[in-house]
Subunit: 317 residues, 4 copies
Amino acid sequence: MTDKRQGEKSPFEEAIWIGTGNMGLPMAKNLLLSGIKLGVHNRTPDKLAPLLAAGARATSDLSGSLSRTPLVFSMLADDAAVREVASKQGGILDSLPTGGVHVSMGTLSPSFVEDLAKRHRERGQILVSAPVFGRPDRAQAGTLTIVAAGPSGNLDAVVPLLECMGSPVFRVGENPSVANHIKLLGNFTLGGLLETLAESLSLARKVGVSPTQLVEILDTAIYRSPVFRNYGQMMAREEFRPAGFRMRLGLKDVRLVLSEADRVEASLPLADLLHAGLLSGIHRGLEDWDWSALGQVRAEDAGAVRQNASVRHPPED
Amino acid sequence: MTDKRQGEKSPFEEAIWIGTGNMGLPMAKNLLLSGIKLGVHNRTPDKLAPLLAAGARATSDLSGSLSRTPLVFSMLADDAAVREVASKQGGILDSLPTGGVHVSMGTLSPSFVEDLAKRHRERGQILVSAPVFGRPDRAQAGTLTIVAAGPSGNLDAVVPLLECMGSPVFRVGENPSVANHIKLLGNFTLGGLLETLAESLSLARKVGVSPTQLVEILDTAIYRSPVFRNYGQMMAREEFRPAGFRMRLGLKDVRLVLSEADRVEASLPLADLLHAGLLSGIHRGLEDWDWSALGQVRAEDAGAVRQNASVRHPPED
Amino acid sequence: MTDKRQGEKSPFEEAIWIGTGNMGLPMAKNLLLSGIKLGVHNRTPDKLAPLLAAGARATSDLSGSLSRTPLVFSMLADDAAVREVASKQGGILDSLPTGGVHVSMGTLSPSFVEDLAKRHRERGQILVSAPVFGRPDRAQAGTLTIVAAGPSGNLDAVVPLLECMGSPVFRVGENPSVANHIKLLGNFTLGGLLETLAESLSLARKVGVSPTQLVEILDTAIYRSPVFRNYGQMMAREEFRPAGFRMRLGLKDVRLVLSEADRVEASLPLADLLHAGLLSGIHRGLEDWDWSALGQVRAEDAGAVRQNASVRHPPED
Amino acid sequence: MTDKRQGEKSPFEEAIWIGTGNMGLPMAKNLLLSGIKLGVHNRTPDKLAPLLAAGARATSDLSGSLSRTPLVFSMLADDAAVREVASKQGGILDSLPTGGVHVSMGTLSPSFVEDLAKRHRERGQILVSAPVFGRPDRAQAGTLTIVAAGPSGNLDAVVPLLECMGSPVFRVGENPSVANHIKLLGNFTLGGLLETLAESLSLARKVGVSPTQLVEILDTAIYRSPVFRNYGQMMAREEFRPAGFRMRLGLKDVRLVLSEADRVEASLPLADLLHAGLLSGIHRGLEDWDWSALGQVRAEDAGAVRQNASVRHPPED
């Protein structure tokens, strides 16, 4: 069912890369290892230095460069950032030639991606959506998990390049937004794990079970999963800061899930629970804590820790 | 924090084993490998044959045997079964000598275990609670995960024997019921995983994401956990029968969790959700399906599969 | 706090009325009793006959009539219907003179009303929002409850006319959308009543309490409320058809409430429950039943009635 | 269906009354107006003065008096208090003659009442359960609502006496515990009203609707119910103290409802919500506030009022 062709070669010899943040920079660096000629673009040119040192060239005239290149990658933070660079005068939609391919790798909303794909099609261009799972360390190591969707022939051409950034690359069909649904569902399952841990640890505290030991035992006995162990130990030790993924961002993704669910008339009671729990956390002053501080919210509601966490934990310097 | 002494030797040279079901039989067999002399007891003597072949002897006079042995193991299905063999005339409480140790390995409720420990103490006997994680295959392979609690000196003496049945053996303190809390919390975290999967797969079906592919991708990208993959694929393929763990039993454990939570005044909204979902499943006729058929309940409520599952899936032969 | 001036006279001598459905027709008829000259408009002129008989005149040229009249009422089904008649060429926004007043009496979303008010202001026109509580029988009797918001001086001029249609008329300030929030919150409190009744009656059935007697007793002992009694008896007797207010419409209002809540970052767990319950009802085939058939959903989930209601209750002829 | 015989006369000429608290005292006083000879009993004899002044006589020897009287009323706070006076040596069960009738009017759990009825039957005695709706003011005015269940002939004899204390008296069949189920369901519907109001008012505050005006309008337009108006205005004005019914007591009743639901395998998601909300309130320090302070909990979670209510509202003197 899942097609992982490895070792094939991409027909592309050059590309443009847009977006050189914590994720985009190491991803572009790994792409250079494929031997492709890479033009890189950033609103703040200073950020490009490491890539220029690795063999990329800077594209000061983005519109002109786009018009001469059949392939552009974007790795941007959200819908708004992609909308800006895609829709502006001289942006991707305007400038990419007919038959050109846009590989969007950011975490975007499925409905935005559907709309973007349509607009590319109207111009004879192609959108491949290829969001990634993993944090900056995996981006550097080239071990991201990548989910790619788009027209089959274009995927054939692009996947060998994606494999420089991560492996496996999962191909999930012709409809680009399906890849973004999967990314979003992945974040929702993490939310479900947080709720599960939050309640388990609250009860553990109240009945006299050691939180850290509980996580160790359940991971050994049942889960054997790094993500269970890591989030479990963060919650057990109440290490909610600095945030790896802020509660505010977790709420954003849960809202996107609920919005998709509403669109297709699916009820998701656990997602409702997460929505209420994260909102309550934000109103308790935990907005900038890691979203695993959902554990703090549930523990307060269960009387397992003292109330008023934000007073107890003064802001960091 | 967690103490795993391995390679030490138990001072016990003989013991009695009560309970030779799917789990108890292979566990007792592995215990024999430690070289201990083992008397085995079952209400249905036929069941003892494999153990007698492996070197155990049958104890027809349970009361007499108990009175001459310092150590008895029980591996029984529930509170009621242990209550019966412990409290009856000539049962464990009556017959075990002063200083004798009862190692209870079944999945019992924490409050029953607390009460049993008290009654042993009143007679100068000792209760060690040592519930296990794992199914019959791991019991046979001697790879169960065991959580043991009881007085420290007694644990020192018993753990080397437990290590013949599984490893690691986690020691979680002096209070026997803590081990049972951990076992129960483990089952609750599985319930949380089921709810998470059930809702994710419902939404996936409605937005056009392949359920089996979703599970494969999220396991690779995030969870890397056999239990996530196994339950996920069961739900994705709607393979709810034969049941590995019946919905009715899942409900029983969720009720025990809610009952403990109520006792200590903790609210557990996810446990409430599981309670309602499993009850609804039972009222839809899914009582004897695997508890992962919670996925069926959520999918019906979300309009992701046809209603009236029990009509659609006729009973097995 | 709430201002109910009665007996005053409106300075307006003529007005236009748009929307002559089940509600609009009797409301316009009552308005005629004030002595005002009323031009009436409907896309289907036949519907105007009863109003013409009562002294109104037909406005075939809506745009021309609007330009000569300082006051227009609209009583339309939803945002879309008002958007159409307000925004089209020669519509209300185009044609109403500077200083003209638009009294919108339909159940519209607060955010739509905010936007409409802004567009009226930009043209020097005034929006008064005046949604109503009550069904066609109360519209005929002139006993609707009306909630009016808009600039104070304009309210002074309009309220005497509204009082021909219902009483009391509550004035709730200068911001038109506040009136629509109140209407929406009213429907949400009805949803809360339905959930309360649904669960009470489910439990009653299971423990052997007569549902109809329960409703009678609780209404006498606690509620003394016609709406409690009416909805309670509908549910107790399982009289869900024909629908007074369809489940699909109930869902629409709950979604509007959740959407407003999301906008201001409020969590509403009961609204989430209603959303899930009504959606589940729709997926069970109850879309066109009265929204009190939430009682059917809860009773099925509690095992208090047989499953598969839609099969049991064949469609009406 | 509901039988309200009025104006008939009871065959009983004398009775004993146990329990003279805020409710019991005025109820006994009204019972005296029927002309019955009443012996009254209280552990603290001082409390009897007002009844003696009204014509009752004190029964110092409870056991002896019971053995000579065919009818005893109890109006006690909870299961424990009734268990004590019914089961002790020389208590009601011991001393009431064969054929004697015990009318229990307190708010007791249905399962306790079932058990008590069985024990009375075993002794040839009869239990009539007759819990009441209403507060001390209605007890004084003789306008309680009373729900009575028990053997039909005994009800015939007792109802004329109950009608001195309140009216209507609803007869709900032969099974005494059914009356207690109805009382409990009544309190649950109040809880549902509180949740509905709590969320409505939270959203109202955030979108700029006046809470007091909202309650007034919705009561006029929809509910027309004193209990809606009273609780609504308490919440709108944040007048949670002194408590009319403490949050801790509200929690107790919700727990009883959930316990009955669990026994018959009914899921009640709104009751779960109330359970979690009230528990959270208790852990926030609101234990002794009125249970309508659920409005405070929901408002804090929605960010509609400041956190940490208990700090903000110092304890009363």
